[in-house]
């Protein structure tokens, strides 16, 4: 398989802390101490209120498939060799919706069902890990 999937940068100002935490396989997200809004993707301010303080929490790594597609055609040097693969929105139990891949299935076009339960699985890389999901076992 040619090359690697595009990897995030650890020093992007808003999301760097999220990615640095993946080295210990922690799926972190932010919640506002004042208004309880769950913030996703990471950023330094609450989108629910003006002056809340955000705290980091860790997800238990379970969620529900909100929607998905099976990519059959890609011109990307890595992903074109991965087809067919599933991209998905997963509603994580702690209240945020993550864009990810669903893996660990033979045929994504027949085995995935919107609403099915999924669990976090980490794809290991040097210096960080990538959060993917697979059917809950």
């Amino acid at each position: 398989m040619a090359g690697s999937r595009p990897l995030p940068t650890l020093d992007e100002p808003d999301s760097g802390e999220f990615w640095r935490a993946t080295t210990t396989k922690e799926l972190k997200f932010q919640r506002c101490d004042s208004c309880a809004t769950t913030i996703w993707y990471p950023r330094p301010h609450c989108t629910g209120c003006l002056d809340g303080t955000l705290a980091w929490h860790s997800s238990n790594g379970f969620g529900t498939l909100y929607s998905y597609s099976v990519v059959r055609q890609s011109y990307h040097p890595f992903f074109r060799n991965l087809v067919p693969y599933a991209v998905a929105y997963v509603d994580v139990d702690e209240g945020f919706r993550i864009l990810t891949n669903v893996v660990g299935i033979e045929d994504p076009s027949t085995e995935l069902k919107i609403g099915q339960r999924l669990q976090l699985v980490w794809e290991e890389h040097e210096g960080l890990n990538i959060p993917l999901f697979e059917p809950a076992g």
């Binding site: 999937r5 595009p6 990897l7 995030p8 940068t9 992007e12 100002p13 808003d14 999301s15 999220f18 990615w19 769950t38 996703w40 993707y41 990471p42 950023r43 909100y66 929607s67 998905y68 597609s69 099976v70 990519v71 059959r72 055609q73 890609s74 011109y75 990307h76 890595f78 992903f79 991965l82 693969y85 991209v87 998905a88 929105y89 509603d91 209240g95 945020f96 919706r97 864009l99 990810t100 891949n101 994504p108 076009s109 919107i114 609403g115 990538i130």
Partner: protein, 397 residues
């Protein structure tokens, strides 16, 4: 109708006829050809233009550069760039500027050599921009443009029972119109479409799957192209050549991913009511619906959001060919052949305005008899994540 304000009208239009320029023209040259022809269509000249509207596609400080390139001294410069809907935003802003007396003749132009550049718009991967938090959280996934829209289609199917056969109605109606438009037929020939003819529902659902559940014939083409639109104040309109097409309503909106957002609702649910409200008309009164057909699902979602039918009922509602220009029961959809079968160089919004104006002048190749009202609705960005909506309501003179 009498309560509508008629302060500004589309008075000049031009759509570049070629979809494959073989790399022999630049986007800027295409823009210029379109500007000259649209001004000629209006009976105006360069010196009449005092408002420049541009989406800044691939041109740094385009408002400044275009003024110099064309030798103009505009009093209004607007370079709102929000993707393929930018031109609907430009019409909204030109309407305000003309009402306020800040300019009298607004020129909107677009030029693209996406096909010559082999830019992968319809079937490729995400473009690379500067890194921001959203990019940094999403680019590892390998989400293609088609799969982004396909996720909306899957969710629509899940929530409402919508089928691929229903979505295919969008494609077949659009191709039905394209076959009546010689420029669209030539576009499909130049872009090497196979088996160019009116299509059936079976043709669409049996075409190759690109990203489940969207098939090849539900995806827009990647062409070269361009266009221009001239909008003038009501006092200028008296001296233009063609019948004016009045801008009677405008709305703008954004939508982006949230933790509990409904993927089946587009930004059109916000921009549509504003535009229809200003115009004082309802979707049921619309004769011609020019809706950004990047993919079949884009149109189905937006038809619902604009109020042609209730949310979730679009699949059943479009069934039976009612979107064709010669059928009753619904608006004529994308009568030029749309992005699916006529022209999609990346930002199709300007062609929605051009074909809507043709219809209200009586100049379309798939002319709706006595067309009085049209909607042009642009969707910019990506329907399945962050996007913009611009809704423009147009009325015949």
């Amino acid at each position: 109708m009498s309560s509508q304000k008629r302060d500004a009208a589309i008075v000049g239009i031009y759509e570049y006829p070629d979809r494959d320029v073989d790399g022999e023209l630049s986007p800027l040259q295409i823009k210029t050809v379109c500007a000259r022809n649209a001004l000629a269509d209006a009976g105006l000249s360069w010196s009449d233009v005092d408002g420049i509207y541009d989406a800044s596609e691939g041109l740094a400080m385009s408002g400044l550069f275009l003024a110099e390139y064309w030798g103009l001294a505009p009093t209004v410069i607007d370079t709102t760039g929000v993707g393929g809907s930018s031109y609907e935003f430009h019409v909204a802003h030109a309407l305000s500027a003309i009402r306020e007396g800040r300019c009298k003749v607004a020129l909107l132009t677009y030029g693209s050599t996406a096909h010559s550049n082999r830019m992968a718009i319809g079937v490729g991967g995400r473009g690379m921009g500067g890194i921001n938090a959203a990019d940094n959280m999403e680019s590892f996934v390998g989400q293609t443009l088609v799969s982004n829209y396909a996720m909306v289609a899957h969710r629509h199917m899940h929530q409402y029972g919508t089928t691929s056969e229903q979505l295919a109605e969008i494609s077949t109606a659009t191709r039905y119109h394209a076959m009546r438009n010689p420029d669209a037929v030539r576009a499909m020939e130049d872009l090497e479409f196979i088996d160019i003819r009116e299509t059936t529902i079976d043709d669409v659902v049996n075409s190759r799957m690109i990203a489940d559940p969207l098939h090849l014939l539900e995806c827009c083409m990647i062409s070269d192209g361009g266009g221009a639109v001239v909008i003038a104040s009501s006092d200028v309109v008296r001296n233009t050549k063609k019948s004016p097409v009045w801008v009677i309503g405008a709305g703008e909106a954004t939508k982006y991913p949230t933790n509990t957002g409904d993927l089946t609702v587009s930004a059109g649910a916000q921009s549509g009511p504003v535009a229809f409200g200003e115009a004082g008309v309802t979707a049921a009164e619309i004769d011609v619906a020019m809706i950004y057909d990047s993919f079949s699902i884009t149109v189905l979602t937006i038809l619902e959001d604009l109020g042609f039918c209730a949310k979730g009922e679009g699949g059943v509602w479009v069934t039976g060919g009612k979107l064709r220009f010669d059928q009753a029961g619904g608006p004529a959809l994308n009568t030029d052949g749309g992005g699916l079968s006529s022209n999609h160089p990346g930002m199709r919004g300007i062609f929605l305005l051009i074909e809507a104006a043709r219809q209200l002048r009586g100049e379309s190749m798939a002319q709706v008899v006595n067309a009085q009202l049209a909607v042009a609705h642009g969707n910019g960005g990506m329907l399945g994540s962050r996007h913009t909506a611009g809704t423009i309501i147009l009325g015949a003179d």
